[in-house]
Symmetry: C2
Subunit: 399 residues, 2 copies
């Protein structure tokens, strides 16, 4: 029997939340108006387009740094607990006017998503599995006491925003347009309580290849004294609150000459995530069988869309075992010593797949091999073929 990993994710969230909210936009949330349509339909979208003099010059593809350049327009939808969702509005990129007492600035009531649009070799623009990002955004909104919305209408609005700024989608099959849906609580009151006012907005950023020097492996610092998430917490949610505590530790890893943090959990030092990516291990198990292993959706890790996609691809290929299970540092070291480790890599929207060259742990540096042919490179090629329209695939959604 094949179990959809997202189903497991949903079940984990239901368990964590203690009640089974359906993640659609159709169910009123406690305290919100019982309006069956949480986000105005796409047909209500208001568009305020830049005048020619407001359009900004586009950076060279070679100069694209992640999240530094923004396109000409943004999408905004405001909400309040009395009137529900306002009409979605696309307008020229502008600063937000926020009351200094806004809840987002004090209690971090904020969440986001990360997804991408690609310019295919055939000239068509495509999104990658936007329904998955919207489903995750809704589950994070519930856990953040923010209102839910109609995911399909939201995707239509995002598509329209990309159409308006379509010239910002890089003409390149190593670059893409990063899409950042963001959701913040805006009410000007210092009470630690559910928000009554909120703003959902979407920004677009042209981004280059994650590593300027190509498909370059990264070195990791694994230090069990720093813990990213824990049972009973929100580590499976894409809340801003999961990121602030990691910045200082990331800096520590850089000062020690590493690129990213390998986040461990528990007395047995379970591997959870790497930097802001999910982690995959390709190895021979003790029976000598090839096995792709990734930590399970147990509430400690983010349910990545790239993670899900790689699992689905590998299960379709049926060439090696595909396992979602807890894996500890002791197991990694044993496999390393017995030369059973074939490859380790991170997976996420920003870099798609990112190979790991070494792990520093308990004062020792473990060099990670790279199997030939490389599985991570095969995943990258398969995903790129889908992203850039070289193959037809249901995950690629026309804009």
């Amino acid at each position: 029997m094949v179990i959809d990993p997202w189903l497991l994710h949903y079940l984990a969230i239901f368990f964590l939340l203690g009640k089974g909210y359906p993640f659609t936009g159709d169910t009123p949330q406690e305290g919100y108006p019982a309006n069956p349509r949480y986000l105005h339909p796409f047909s209500d979208l208001e568009e305020k387009i830049c005048t020619p003099d407001q359009l900004r010059p586009k950076p060279d593809n070679s100069a694209l740094v992640f999240g530094k350049y923004f396109t000409d327009h943004m999408l905004e939808v405001s909400w309040d607990s009395k009137r529900g969702w306002a009409k979605p509005v696309i307008s020229p990129m502008h600063n937000l006017q926020l009351h200094p007492g806004a809840k987002v600035l004090h209690y971090a009531i904020e969440l986001f998503e990360g997804m991408k649009a690609y310019r295919g070799e055939d000239g068509c623009l495509r999104l990658f599995r936007p329904d998955r990002n919207m489903a995750r955004m809704l589950s994070t909104a519930k856990r953040s006491s923010l209102p839910t919305f109609d995911a399909e209408e939201m995707i239509k609005c995002i598509k329209r925003l990309i159409q308006i700024d379509k010239e910002w989608v890089p003409y390149s099959t190593t670059s893409s347009l990063y899409i950042r849906p963001t959701f913040i609580a805006t009410d000007p009151s210092l009470g630690v309580a559910s928000p009554n006012e909120a703003l959902l907005y979407v920004l677009l950023c042209p981004v280059g290849p994650y590593f300027t020097s190509g498909f370059k492996p990264i070195s990791l610092m694994a230090d069990p004294q720093y813990v990213r998430s824990w049972p009973g917490g929100c580590g499976a949610m894409k809340m801003g609150a999961n990121y602030a505590p990691t910045i200082y530790i990331q800096k520590q890893s850089e000062l020690l000459g590493h690129q990213q943090v390998l986040w461990l959990y528990g007395a047995d030092h379970q591997l959870t995530e790497v930097g802001t990516m999910n982690i995959f291990l390709f190895m021979l198990n003790s029976n000598g069988e090839r096995e792709l292993v990734t930590p399970p959706l147990d509430g400690l890790i983010l349910p990545g869309v790239t993670r899900l996609s790689l699992l689905e691809l590998a299960r379709e290929w049926k060439e090696f075992r595909v396992v979602e299970r807890t894996i500890t540092m002791a197991e990694v070291i044993q496999a390393h010593e017995e030369k059973r480790l074939l490859e380790i890599f991170g997976a996420g929207t920003a870099c798609v797949v990112c190979p790991v060259s070494s792990i520093s742990y308990h004062g020792r540096e473990y060099n990670i091999p790279r199997s030939q042919p490389s599985l991570s490179q095969r995943f990258l090629k398969t995903m790129s073929d889908i992203h850039y329209g070289r193959v037809q695939h249901p995950w690629a959604v026309d804009i």
Copy 2:
């Protein structure tokens, strides 16, 4: 030997951070300019005072809801990694202009403090131990990869802000002026990295008694499936990130008819905090001695200034044992059954002292007695006497 609980707190933070930063404004932080003065001195303070028509009407003392009304002015100091701190500015209360990609809105790089100013019975305005709040703000800033500053200069600027808005300090010995120093990362870039731009600002809110119906005991929901903080995390820091995940759980407790959450930790269900307060238990120990117990500063709880003050007062009184130690729900239940529980209460800046009437745990409701004479009421009176200048005390600082 008496060990200063704040010393323990500092040691715990040093341990957690893995290095011993001194918490003064005089030590350059990695990546920040080696300018010995991190915040411009008070003498550089720029003041833009409201015109008479900009002054807003003050609410009645009876209408004061926590964090709803703000005074006429605010204090702002901006920072960037190239130029360091700008001059502090006091100006009329206004909205902030933030880039929608500002790091505070995506990765919750934000922190705050909560302190109060009181109008004494002698007419003098006083702060309560502002040095403690500023020390905690600096330690949270370090952990948040935000720059440090000169705490004494900051206190001078806050005093000046209060002097300008002094008519907003309630003429009442049950109300006060809540002070909210806030520190946010403002650079418009989506990279998950240390901020290069930030804004420190201070808001003032007149606030009434925490409970409109007086010194009213609250009922708590203790559910071990929800965990506020964990070893290796940031639970001891006043970061916004600690609050967002609690809102949904607080709502769950309200739906079940409780006022606050009693946060438990670990397989043995240790008591950590109550809502946004520290927790105290007054009880007879197994030898029949009276004992005031509060969880230790082990990195899981916020090092409250009220917590510290109550411990210091109790140690000065020398009338009962005062112990900082881990306490579990099993111990609480045993003490309850053996009628050794005298009183449980929360302690924090907002309510000062807040008695607990009951704890709901594992489907049972435990009613908490209240010793006569009540220790919590004695603490409240002692603290109020200091706040409102009925006694002279070094903790009360003239404005």
